[in-house]
């Protein structure tokens, strides 16, 4: 490289072309989705899953939980809409001893717990179920995920918030024998791609 030249790779906002993989990501465990997301869930950032039905999308998160927990990392589920069913999670390969389920009384506590856990650096992934987040709250959680180098996943049921700074935004719909995932946004990737994630999930080896 020429002395004094600027390395374009170091400048945020420079279009680097399609098809690269992000160095800091955790595989989703679903090859087609990994490809569309340039490697998987971004580490140190928030990803957003939106659907019209509460709880839809858990099956996208479970393979990540399985891999992280078996590697000895802790993971957390905050305010899930239903009971995370232990036998199914175990069958999917999740080490239940490494999984914490936070059932807070209200939204404030849920957000507080999410921020603490994301920021601590002790949790490989933190999934939060919540109504759409206001911008300042989203920024706080983003900052916490960045600080703790954690995968932050926020799932909410309902329509999109108009604005979101999440690095990845997914729109989920049930489909025949599959879960249909539309990539609304993924930094560095072409938006609008659609991935069919197979169902049921294969049993973990």
């Amino acid at each position: 490289m020429v002395r004094g030249a600027v390395d374009l790779n170091n400048i945020a906002g420079v279009w680097r072309g399609l098809g690269r993989t992000r160095p800091d990501s955790e595989s989703t465990g679903i090859p087609a989705l990994d490809q569309a997301l340039l490697g998987g869930w971004p580490v140190g950032a928030l990803s957003q899953m939106v659907s019209h039905e509460a709880g839809l999308g858990f099956s996208l998160v479970v393979p990540l939980l399985a891999r992280l927990t078996r590697a000895g990392r802790h993971v957390a589920l905050i305010a899930p809409p239903y009971i995370p069913y232990a036998p199914a999670l175990r069958d999917a390969g999740v080490d239940l001893r490494k999984l914490l389920w936070i059932a807070p009384k209200d939204r404030v506590d849920a957000l507080w717990a999410a921020e603490q856990m994301l920021r601590s650096g002790l949790y490989g992934a933190v999934a939060l179920w919540s109504p759409a987040l206001e911008a300042p709250i989203e920024r706080r959680l983003q900052l916490a995920a960045e600080t703790g180098r954690s995968v932050g996943i926020v799932a909410h049921a309902g329509a999109y918030g108009a604005h979101s700074i999440a690095a990845v935004r997914l729109q989920l719909k049930p489909a025949a024998a599959a879960l249909s995932v539309e990539i609304v946004r993924c930094r560095g990737a072409r938006p609008g791609q659609r991935v069919e994630c197979p169902f049921p999930l294969r049993r973990a080896a």
């Binding site: 019209h52 039905e53 709880g55 839809l56 999308g57 858990f58 099956s59 479970v62 802790h74 899930p80 809409p81 239903y82 009971i83 995370p84 069913y85 232990a86 036998p87 199914a88 999670l89 175990r90 069958d91 999917a92 239940l96 001893r97 999984l99 914490l100 389920w101 936070i102 059932a103 807070p104 009384k105 506590d109 507080w112 717990a113 603490q116 856990m117 601590s120 650096g121 002790l122 719909k173 049930p174 489909a175 025949a176 879960l179 169902f199 049921p200 049993r203």
Partner: protein, 465 residues
């Protein structure tokens, strides 16, 4: 005997939890006279000297905050120090009037293999102590106190009674433990050094000042035995703390709490125990008493960790009226593991952090909000997820990721697979035979539904995605 005396010269000020940025003076009343006996830096910078009368102090600094000396608070701190000193040796004794704590260290000296190692231990253990302190070491209580008050420090311990004379003779005579009147008279006779007083004939001193003076000199030099009252750490820890001002927010409680927990930690270290459960109560101006029972995941004696947990609990508390008094109480103690002493805290930093975070979560959200999952061997789905009892993977057909907390009746869905019969629990008196199916609702969502045997109603029990 070899006594280590710990003297706390600034205790009247430090025993209260005071703001550092405004001038504060501690007032002692003797008879009709009220004098300022201790000042913080802010007051000292304004030119006020300890010993000034109250009127003089107010004349110089009109906005100075003057507080009555709190002997009870001072005694509590001395007792905390005494508890810690217990880890150095026995016996331990206290003189509240002169703000001294003594501990006999001859045996520790042998245990640590000499003075340099013991000194290093004492310095390391007291590094974080939030109280100004001076040390003196000598074979008599009086001589070690004299050295501590004069600021001799840990460098030159006096090991044998015969060395006391040489160690104290060059100090100014006002360090002698005599009444001010006696000291004034000695000073007025032209004496300046302790050595000059020791050189006087004892019977002459006795005739002039009474028998008490030569007797205390004899005690100082170890020629007459001394008596003391042994301090024992109380089996239950109970402390009361009165706030100098009123705390109107729980935030404002944190500063005095930090102090209380530091003292608590001294007690724990002295008894070589840790605490897992303790109780904090506070009383507000309306005499209402609020009680917080604090539980930790693992026993600890780290004051920072205790404070962190308390802070989370306090954030949930709203104060109806300003708080006036705090009480800290612990009745049960656990054996301490060496791993939690600050000195050795390197290897398990990650695990430590994990416990601490979990404790904060539990403190704020409540124990039932922080759950871990495990499978139980019961076949009935709603009983197979509860916590505790981890079970080896039993063989069963695939299960949905979500279980509904309450089963919902639904219209007949489109069934996608053969039934799985789940039937057990009859020995408990309920007959629960169910046919479970994978099914789909009109939107395409995958459901886990069942129908009880002999019933036509379909019920939604789980979701697959």
């Amino acid at each position: 005997m070899l006594w280590l005396c710990i003297h706390l010269p600034a205790l009247p000020l430090e025993a209260l939890s005071l703001p550092a940025d405004e001038p504060v003076g501690i007032v002692e009343t003797s008879g009709a006279r009220r004098r300022v006996i201790a000042l913080n830096d802010a007051a000292r910078r304004r030119g006020l000297q300890p010993g000034a009368g109250v009127n003089a102090a107010l004349g110089l600094i009109p906005e100075i905050r003057l507080l009555q000396r709190d002997a009870q608070a001072e005694l509590q701190v001395l007792e905390s120090i005494a508890c810690w000193a217990y880890s150095l040796g026995t016996p331990v004794t206290i003189a509240a009037g002169t703000l001294d704590v003594w501990v006999e260290i001859r045996r520790s000296l042998r245990l640590y293999g000499g003075w340099p190692a013991l000194r290093q231990h004492i310095v390391a253990q007291t590094r974080d102590l939030p109280y100004s302190r001076n040390y003196g070491i000598a074979p008599t209580l009086a001589a070690s106190a004299l050295l501590a008050h004069a600021g001799a420090g840990l460098q030159r311990p006096v090991a044998r009674p015969a060395e006391i004379h040489a160690a104290i003779r060059d100090w100014p005579l006002h360090w002698l433990p005599f009444e001010p009147g006696v000291l004034d008279t000695l000073h007025g006779s032209g004496l300046r050094r302790i050595g000059e007083v020791l050189a006087l004939p004892h019977d002459a001193l006795g005739r002039r000042f009474g028998a008490q003076v030569p007797l205390s000199l004899a005690r100082l030099l170890g020629r007459v035995g001394e008596a003391w009252e042994t301090f024992e750490p109380p089996p239950i820890y109970r402390r009361r703390f009165e706030l100098p001002g009123h705390a109107e927010t729980t935030e404002a409680l944190l500063f005095p709490l930090r102090k209380m927990l530091n003292d608590f930690s001294l007690y724990l270290r002295g008894r070589d125990v840790a605490v897992q459960r303790f109780r904090l109560r506070f009383r507000d101006l309306g005499r209402r008493l609020t009680q917080l029972d604090i539980g930790l995941l693992a026993p600890t004696r780290d004051p920072n960790r205790l404070l962190l947990v308390l802070r989370e609990r306090l954030e949930k508390v709203s104060l109806a009226e300003p708080v006036q008094e705090l009480f800290l109480e612990a009745r049960r103690f656990e054996p301490a593991s060496a791993a939690q002493d600050d000195l050795f805290q390197t290897g398990s930093a990650q695990a430590e952090g994990f416990d601490t975070l979990q404790e904060r979560l539990v403190a704020r959200l409540g124990a039932d909000a922080v759950r871990s999952l495990a499978t139980t061997p019961d076949h009935r789905p709603e009983r197979a997820w509860s916590s505790a009892i981890p079970e080896a993977a039993g063989e069963h057909p695939p299960r949905p990721l979500w279980l509904l907390p309450h089963v919902q009746p639904i219209a007949m869905p489109r069934l996608l697979g053969p039934p799985e019969r789940i039937e057990c629990g009859w020995w408990e008196g309920h007959h629960e035979g169910r046919d479970y199916h994978l099914a789909e609702d009109p939107s395409g969502r995958k459901l886990w539904v069942y129908r009880e045997l002999g019933d036509t109603q379909w019920r939604l029990h789980g979701l697959w995605q």
